[in-house]
Symmetry: C3
Amino acid sequence: MPHFNIEYSANLADKVDMQALVDVVHAAVVSLGPFPLGGLRVRAFPTETYAIADKLPENGFIDMSFRIGAGRSDAEKKRAGEVIFGAVSDHLKTLFDTPHFMLSLEIREIDPELSWKKNSIHTRLSNTK
Amino acid sequence: MPHFNIEYSANLADKVDMQALVDVVHAAVVSLGPFPLGGLRVRAFPTETYAIADKLPENGFIDMSFRIGAGRSDAEKKRAGEVIFGAVSDHLKTLFDTPHFMLSLEIREIDPELSWKKNSIHTRLSNTK
Amino acid sequence: MPHFNIEYSANLADKVDMQALVDVVHAAVVSLGPFPLGGLRVRAFPTETYAIADKLPENGFIDMSFRIGAGRSDAEKKRAGEVIFGAVSDHLKTLFDTPHFMLSLEIREIDPELSWKKNSIHTRLSNTK
């Protein structure tokens, strides 16, 4: 953990460098502090088939979901959302100048009793520090 | 909000016009009333790698997930599920005539304390009304 | 139900036979007992755009999500997670020999009040038994 998922309408692929967006999110999450680098997985999935708002072909969306381990305070979670959403909003500022774009973010906690994980990257990162 | 996600096995792409299905869902959600057009995002994702039930190659599935903002009553949520599931079931009637198809829908509320959104479509739609 | 989703970084496609992985999960779920074969849908989605941990190009992840119907005991859910995670970990043993791999699993219950389903496979499977 944590897991960061981005879904986006494929018509944005011409306008947004999605690898750069993933890197912006990665940097924002790392900057926060409480989320270990060695467990961070940011990824994006395009959809080719969609119907957005009034269905103008220019309409586009980016929807983000951040799943985190339990144990962060409400304040830490609020701040995480604000920092990440702020960084992405800034990065995509030109899209908001058009009347055709929606951005969203949801944070959800993973139940520690019903999750399992195994990670060979954590060990490497601990060793190099 | 709201967000409507459809996942489907790619072997259905020959049998179902997925853009038409997305449009059927879009129309059903709009017909309900409590969900603003300007925030609606319906989208579909195919999977090429799957194992369904007894793994006959003809087996196919469509799984739908509807994430909505908080504040609707239980009755409104129940009705939303019934109307959307009914519309999609009717649209896919011929698939149910085969013994190889599964359809499902789940509604989940988004925590208002842990979600963020920004939308330049809402403003345009308000202005044109 | 149940639904089993696998997301993975596309750089693993050379190293892991994803159809074989989906089949390993399918077999593990069926072996458990409380999950009916006729409702099982295992599927996988690759991501081509991602940033994993310290962003070495060799870093890869597989993230699994198991959504199940309500009604199983805590012990049944725990056992399900352990058996499935164990089977997948064994299958991917060589990946854990590298310092570049993360595997995760989350189980989540579907709210019976807010879910709908229709299944023409169940009937066929009941008839053949």
